[in-house]
Symmetry: C2
Subunit: 239 residues, 2 copies
């Protein structure tokens, strides 16, 4: 009888144990505290997460293995082996919900192939929180990950997303590395049609949480929030 | 000084107070319990939610107003008026996260126009939980709401979504009214290419939770779970 693969969300910032209670329901933290085997992107930060959770056994007795962009497909079976032998495992992300914008999806996919039960837990997702708070269309939306790094390519991609959004009334969501946040907002404001809605959500669930939705023309007249090195997510709805 | 509009998630099924503690962090329930003004799709079910929350004042002293498909745009300002006068409000959905697949987004949009602070809270979203647990691509995905009712149109739409998914490696997510679940899964299995991944997630966060990801060809050989009148969400990844 196989163990279960639990998908355990993490805080969206470098929060402490108190911050974890703000975003994870109590039964989720209790299940997370009881597991003896964890898979995370980085062993050190996974152990930092376990410290916040308050594990029922000493952290050094919990097996922690890594799954990240360097993991070869063949190693996925190695990660699954203890679960197939009956051990319950936790998959945890560096931030937010595992297997959404991180490499964990490969493990989940393989778990289904091998008949392992997968249980997703409730926790913070910057994508979903931003969508809720944006006021944009939640009946049709797309998450597009990162935009191209090259400025020309990025502008082109934004124009494509705006056209797509307008045609299908589909909210378009994307993220950037924090040091490029300011540049991306400026490009958005300069590129989009005056009536297109642009939302920026910064520091979601954190003390500095700021969520602003305005038309491109209103953004031109208003002062932008400080985005420098703060986690941010961007949304647009073409109009 | 305006009040704040809190976006408060609900359980995914007809859960009791205990079910609410499974899916909402304690501070979210505390904030929800303290509010004196609520906006929901239906006043009766909103009061049922408040009973589960365990409000700090008697429920009959809490103002509850409706926002649903019958609400005219002009009434949105009426709903916002108490907030503009300084009252904090809660927006709650019939199930899951407000302003995602319900009419609440109109209120949130208008709140931004009027400079009202919007605070989204963590809670269960069948879209996000299904995506996490599907093992499909979480770096690029789209939620498409309901499929067309007409069988021909539905088949056509599914084929479009499969092509789009294959081209862009974008997970496609959609929902159905529970009594059509069985028909939609049969259409999916019959329509999709043999190697396309199909996931069905049923009763998420509820006692009967079942999440299965298989290729279309594996679905053909395997027995399908009982979907009749159970809340379900469907995902496909074209291959």
């Amino acid at each position: 009888m196989s163990g279960t693969l639990y998908l355990i969300p993490n805080t969206l910032g470098d929060g402490d144990a108190e911050a974890l209670t703000q975003v994870l329901p109590e039964p989720v933290r209790a299940q997370a505290a009881a597991l003896g085997y964890y898979i995370g992107e980085n062993a050190k930060t996974t152990r930092a997460f376990l410290k916040k959770v308050g594990t029922t056994r000493p952290i050094q007795e919990i097996e922690v293995r890594e799954l990240n962009v360097n993991t070869r497909p063949a190693e996925i079976d190695h990660l699954l082996a203890p679960i197939l032998q009956g051990t319950d495992a936790g998959l945890v992300s560096e931030a937010g919900c595992p297997a959404v914008a991180d490499p964990g999806a490969l493990l989940v996919r393989r778990a289904h192939d091998r008949g392992v039960k997968v249980v997703p837990f409730v926790g913070p997702s910057s994508i979903l929180l931003a969508l809720m708070a944006s006021g944009m269309n939640g009946q049709s939306f797309a998450f597009n990950g990162y935009l191209p790094v090259d400025a020309n390519e990025r502008g082109k991609r934004l124009r494509e997303l705006e056209v797509l959004s307008r045609k299908a009334n589909q909210t378009q969501i994307f993220i950037e590395t924090p040091y490029r946040n300011k540049a991306i907002l400026e490009t958005l404001i300069a590129t989009c049609a005056p009536s297109t809605l642009i939302c920026v959500a910064v520091d979601l669930t954190l003390p500095g949480e700021t969520i602003i939705t305005r038309t491109a023309s209103s953004w031109k007249k208003a002062s932008a929030p400080d985005l420098h090195k703060r986690p941010a997510i961007f949304l647009l709805l073409g109009a």
